[in-house]
Amino acid sequence: MNKKLSRTPLLHTLSLSLMLAIGTAQAQTPAEQELLRRVDQLAAELAKLRTELAQLQQQAPTQPSAPAASIAALVEPAPAAQARTVLGGYAELNYNRPNNNGKDAQADLRRLVLGVQHRFDEKTKIVTEIEVEHAVASAGDPGEVAIEQAYVEHQFHPNWALRGGLFLMPMGLLNENHEPTAYYGVERNFVETAIIPSTWREGGIQLVGQLDSGWTLQAGIATGFDLNKWDAASSEGRESPLGAIHQELALARSRDLALFGAANYRGIPGLLLGASVFSGQATHSQQAASSRITLWDLHARWTPGRWDLSALYSRGSISNTAALNMPLVGSDSLIPARFDGAYLQAAYKLWEQGSYVLKPFARWERFNTASRYAELGAGLTPEASDSERVVTLGANFEFAPGVVLKADLQRFRLNKDLNRVNLGLGWSF
């Protein structure tokens, strides 16, 4: 113990001596002198800058800058910092005037939709849309209020996302892109309303893949149709068989769920090729006979330069309708075994100036909401319907991005009484 203590003071003394020696030496090293020289140099440069600044201040009054207002007018406002909650919406106001029955002319706020999208984080968001049709919904008025979309989307991979909730079925060209600014004509085409019941949504789970090759793949499981809702006394089923029995997550019968899938290819700029299919049982064990409803479509859209060309074919089938129709014999609307339709459309950007864009278009379509009935026996089987053919000629006139004025003529081949002039005003944001 004593030996250790006696060593410590000696070590301290030695280290202190060494430090002092080093310190003394450093005070005189060339490095120190170099640092001092640099400090002097910086001081000189600072003085020079101070002089230049004084000169600039003297010159400033002689160079008046442009007024701030004129600069502001030249600059487009930058997008706001990423908002977590975004509002959107669209609306359609239509005027329909039958040529031969002016007394049946009708004006309608067909629909007004408000959407809210909220992003929780980089991977997760909700998408919602609420719709009011025909302006007023009450016991004494013809309108209705509906939820069009209400789903959560979670991106679990850069190319893949999952959706859960009430979402649009990925079918046709119109169903997922149905704002008035997204289609030509005052009314949506008949094929995508009578055959594909746009706007068509169901509740379920959907996998969405956006592959780098240009493919968009969608598949999932969802609520389907309810054939128990078929009202044989109503004309609704003849206007749109599936529109009469879709459930859209309104206390939806879910004993049987449906599978759906869609593939769209956009790998060539300006071209879209796609196909979709939806299939599910539709009686939910409520009837002795089970019945499967299947709907599929093929579609294409090509936009070379100023042209916008589209084509679509869709077909639906309902199985085992003989057993379901037997008790309904004699009613106005029996359940069809098959229904289909097709359309061709061409539009051209004829004129553009500033925010004004004029796009005339022509559309030909054929559709049949009951192209076949199941055999019920001699004298009992209804006759298949004839196909209706409609030609629509008109123009979309955009006068601001997202606002469109429309006018068109529609000629029906079978139901000539429906020939009409349509005017429309729509917006989307």
Binding site: V86, P269, G305
Partner: protein, 182 residues
Amino acid sequence: MRLALTTAICSVAAMAPSGAFAVDYMTAEAAAKLMFAEADRFELQDWLLDAAQLQAIAALGVKPRSARWQLRLAYKGKELLGVLVADEVLGKFELISYAVGVGADGRLRGLEILAYRESHGHEIRSAAWRKQFVGKAQGAPIKLGEDIANISGATLSCSHVTDGVKRIVTVVEQARRSGRLG
């Protein structure tokens, strides 16, 4: 039927290419290295357009988003190869981050989507769509439905990114003429 579809879904999922795990696909730095692979260094330069320059840009029918721009200059030795500008535009609801590369000759080197958050329209990231921009200079229309083809279902995203590219090409051309890139 169900089993077949399920199997198809699984096999399709297996085909998915691997990549960064986010809707952010790329940084501006990575885009710069991609478009100017031969560069050995990059230099950030802030540029404030004056009123005359803003008016010159507006006269070409382009509304500059801001008077202040950040240019990422790509050099090989002392030679300037070009400039990269990162920017953002709205898709339909959410912001799209993108980067535009312009060569020292004023021609577009490329377009990269840095982040995309919309539910639809990811196809603007496809190489085929972005390739349409390569080689164009200020004189080209760079306009959707003219020399840039649309992607059906992603019209707003295509339109706004196309407008953004034209804006950047015009701004960079002003920088060239004013000697900022000399």
